[in-house]
C-alpha cells in the first residue's frame, strides 16, 4: 500500500463516525476485494456447517418417518435420555477421552521437554514423529487389531509369554476400550509432543538464564516459567485432542467390529442403519454438538490467555 493511500486513510479515520467506518469497509477497493475473496469459504461454512446445525436442532423436535414429519416436542430427547445404549456410548466416550488425553498430554509434554535441546538428528526425529499422524485412523485401528489378534498378534504373544493374559486380548468391551486407548496414544502423542515442542522453542533462553542467576531451582523454572509461557500451546493441544477424542468413531468401529458404542457410533447407527429412529439419532447428534461447545468453552475459559494474538 502506498504512503499516500495510508495518509488518506488516516485522514478519513479522524473524521470517521461509526457509519463511515462501516461504509469504508466496502468502499475501500482493497477491503472490498478482501470480502469477495473470503466469500466462497464463508458460503461453504454457512451451507455445509451452520445451516445443517440449525436444521438438525429443528429436526430434533420432529418425528421423521419416510412419509410423515410431525412436531413431537422433546419426545426425541426423552427417548434418548432413557436409552441404555446412549449412556453406554456416553460412558465409553468419556472414559476414552479422559484417559487418552491425559496420557497423550503427559507423555507428549515429557517428550517435548526432553527433545527441547539442540542435538544431531532432531530433524529426522520430527519426521518420525509425524508418521503416525499421516495414518488413516481406520488403518491404524486395523494394524493394532492385528497386533492384538490372539493367534498371530505380537501383543497377545508377549502377554502370553509374560503370563498377563491367556486367551484373546480383545475379548471384552473393557479390553477393547483399553486397546483403543493404547492405539490412540500411539497415534497422537508424537503430534502433541511436536505442538508443545514448537511452543517451548519460542520461549527465549535468557528468561531461564535470568532465573538461574536469581537462584531458581529447575522445578521452579518449570512451574513458574515453562508452564505459564507454554499455556497457549497447551490450550491448543488439549482443545484439539479433547474434541477429537470426544468425536471418536473410526477407531471403535474398526477395533470392535462395531460392537463398542461411542456417542458418534450411536448417532451413525440411527441415521444410517435404522432410519426409523433417525430422529433420536439426530437428537444425539445435537447433544454431541452442544457438549463439544461446552468443552471448548470450559477449556478457553480456564486456560485461555490472549491465544488469539497472531
Amino acid at each position: 500500500m502506498s504512503v499516500a493511500a495510508e495518509a488518506g486513510r488516516a485522514q478519513t479515520t479522524e473524521r470517521a463516525g461509526p457509519w463511515s467506518r462501516v461504509t469504508r469497509e466496502f468502499t475501500d477497493p482493497e477491503k472490498r476485494t478482501a470480502y469477495i475473496m473470503i466469500l466462497p469459504v464463508l458460503l461453504v461454512i454457512l451451507l455445509i456447517a451452520a445451516w445443517p446445525i440449525v436444521y438438525a436442532v429443528y429436526l430434533s423436535f420432529l418425528r421423521i418417518l419416510p412419509t410423515v414429519r410431525e412436531f413431537v416436542g422433546v419426545d426425541n430427547y426423552s427417548a434418548l435420555f432413557t436409552d441404555h445404549t446412549f449412556y453406554q456410548g456416553l460412558l465409553n466416550t468419556t472414559l476414552f477421552t479422559v484417559v487418552s488425553v491425559v496420557l497423550e498430554f503427559a507423555l507428549g509434554l515429557g517428550i517435548a521437554l526432553v527433545l527441547n535441546r539442540g542435538f544431531v538428528g532432531q530433524g529426522a526425529l520430527r519426521a518420525i514423529a509425524i508418521v503416525p499422524w499421516a495414518f488413516p485412523t481406520v488403518v491404524s485401528g486395523i494394524m493394532w487389531r492385528l497386533m492384538y489378534q490372539d493367534q498371530i498378534g505380537i501383543f497377545s504373544y508377549w502377554a502370553e509369554q509374560l503370563g498377563i493374559i491367556s486367551g484373546p486380548v480383545l475379548a471384552s468391551e473393557g479390553s477393547i476400550l483399553v486397546g483403543a486407548i493404547l492405539s490412540d496414544v500411539w497415534k497422537t502423542t508424537p503430534f502433541v509432543a511436536l505442538l508443545l515442542l514448537a511452543g517451548l522453542q519460542v520461549i527465549p533462553a535468557d528468561v531461564y538464564e535470568a532465573s538461574r542467576v536469581d537462584g531458581a531451582t529447575p522445578w521452579q523454572q518449570f512451574t513458574r516459567i515453562t508452564l505459564p509461557l507454554l499455556k497457549p500451546a497447551i490450550l491448543v493441544a488439549l482443545l484439539f485432542r479433547t474434541l477429537d477424542a470426544w468425536r471418536v468413531y473410526d477407531l471403535f468401529w474398526v477395533m470392535s467390529d462395531r460392537q463398542l458404542e461411542s456417542l458418534s457410533t450411536y448417532v451413525f447407527k440411527f441415521v444410517r442403519i435404522s432410519q426409523v429412529n433417525l430422529s433420536v439419532g439426530n437428537a444425539a447428534a445435537v447433544f454431541v454438538f452442544l457438549s463439544s461447545l461446552l468443552i471448548a468453552f470450559l477449556f478457553i475459559r480456564f486456560l485461555g490467555t490472549r491465544a488469539q494474538e497472531a
Binding site: 526425529l125 495414518f135 487389531r145 447428534a285
Partner: protein
C-alpha cells in the same frame, strides 16, 4: 535449558534412551505390519513372536508364486477388484476435495494474511472453530438433504462435506505460508498499477508455490483419511473409498492376516513416503497453523 552439552554422562544416557524408546515405539507397529504383509503362512505359524527381517525374503524368489517379486498377500488384495476400485475412488474423492479447498482456501488465506479488514479476526476464529466441529452432528440433516438432491451414493456426497472439514487445515497453512513472503514485491506491483487480484495471482501464488504444494499434499492426506462421511453417504463399492472398504477386509479375509496387513500397508505407505519427503515444511506448517491460531 537448550544447548549442546549435557550436565553429566548420566543425563546424556538418559536423553538417548528416551529418544531411542520414542523412535522404536513410534515405528514398531508400522514395521510389524509390514513384516506381517510379507511373511508366508508357514513362517508366521512357526515363529509367532518374531520381529526381525522375515526369512522368506532370503528364499530363492523363483521358487515362489507367479510374480516372484510381489509377496502373495499383495497379489491377493490386488486381485480383488473392489480394492482397486476403492483406491481409485479414494484418489478421486481426495483429489477433488484438495482442488476445491485450494481454490477457495487460497483466496480466503490471501485476504486473511495480507489485508486489514474488520471481519478478518472473526473469520479466522470461525475457520478455526470448524476444525473443532464434530462431523457427526451434521450427518442426519445432510443425509436427508443429499437424499432430497439425489446425490447419496455419489462422489459429491463425500466431497462436499470433506471440503468443509479439510478447509481449516488448508486455510491456516496457506495463511502461514503467505505471511512468510515479504510484502515488497506485491506492494511494488500495486504501485505499478496492479490490482489486489493481480498481485495475488501473478506474485503471491507463484512465489509461494512450494507452500501451496505442501498444503495441497496435507489436504489430500486429510481427505484420504476421512471415514465418517464416506461411511455414511456411500452405499456400495462403486463409489466407496478405500478407508470404507478396508474394515470389511477383516470379515472377507478372516484368517488371511497377511492380506489385511498388505491392504493397510498399501493404504499408508504412500502417505508415509510423502510425509517423509516433505517433513520439514509439514512440521513447520502444522505447528505454525496451531500456534498462530
Amino acid at each position: 535449558m537448550r544447548g549442546k552439552g549435557f550436565k553429566s554422562p548420566l543425563h546424556a544416557v538418559g536423553f538417548y534412551v528416551v529418544v531411542a524408546a520414542f523412535v522404536i515405539i513410534t515405528l514398531f507397529p508400522l514395521w510389524w505390519v509390514l513384516r506381517l504383509s510379507v511373511v508366508d503362512a508357514e513362517e508366521l505359524a512357526a515363529s509367532p513372536g518374531a520381529v526381525g527381517i522375515p526369512e522368506v525374503l532370503f528364499d530363492d524368489p523363483k521358487s515362489k508364486t507367479d510374480n516372484p517379486w510381489l509377496p502373495l498377500s499383495y497379489e491377493t488384495i490386488f486381485a480383488d477388484p473392489n480394492f482397486k476400485r476403492g483406491l481409485t475412488n479414494s484418489v478421486i474423492i481426495a483429489g477433488f476435495t484438495t482442488l476445491f479447498c485450494l481454490a477457495i482456501g487460497s483466496l480466503a488465506a490471501y485476504a486473511l494474511a495480507r489485508i486489514e479488514f474488520f471481519a478478518r479476526r472473526p473469520v479466522l476464529s470461525l475457520v478455526l472453530a470448524i476444525s473443532f466441529f464434530p462431523a457427526v452432528a451434521i450427518i442426519a440433516p445432510l443425509f436427508l438433504q443429499f437424499q432430497g438432491l439425489g446425490i447419496i451414493n455419489t462422489y459429491w456426497a463425500v466431497i462436499i462435506p470433506d471440503v468443509l472439514i479439510a478447509l481449516p487445515l488448508t486455510v491456516y497453512l496457506l495463511v502461514a505460508y503467505f505471511r512468510e513472503l515479504p510484502k515488497d514485491l506485491e506492494e511494488a506491483a500495486k504501485v505499478d498499477g496492479a490490482s489486489t487480484w493481480q498481485a495475488f495471482w501473478r506474485i503471491t501464488i507463484p512465489l509461494s508455490l512450494p507452500g501451496v504444494v505442501t498444503t495441497g499434499l496435507l489436504t489430500f492426506i486429510f481427505a484420504w483419511n476421512e471415514f465418517l462421511f464416506a461411511n455414511t453417504f456411500t452405499l456400495d463399492p462403486t463409489v466407496q473409498p478405500a478407508t470404507v472398504l478396508i474394515p470389511q477386509f477383516a470379515t472377507i479375509y478372516t484368517t488371511d492376516y497377511g492380506a489385511q496387513a498388505a491392504a493397510a500397508i498399501v493404504l499408508t505407505l504412500p502417505l508415509v513416503i510423502l510425509v517423509l519427503l516433505f517433513q520439514k515444511k509439514i512440521v513447520s506448517g502444522l505447528t505454525a497453523g496451531a500456534t498462530t491460531g
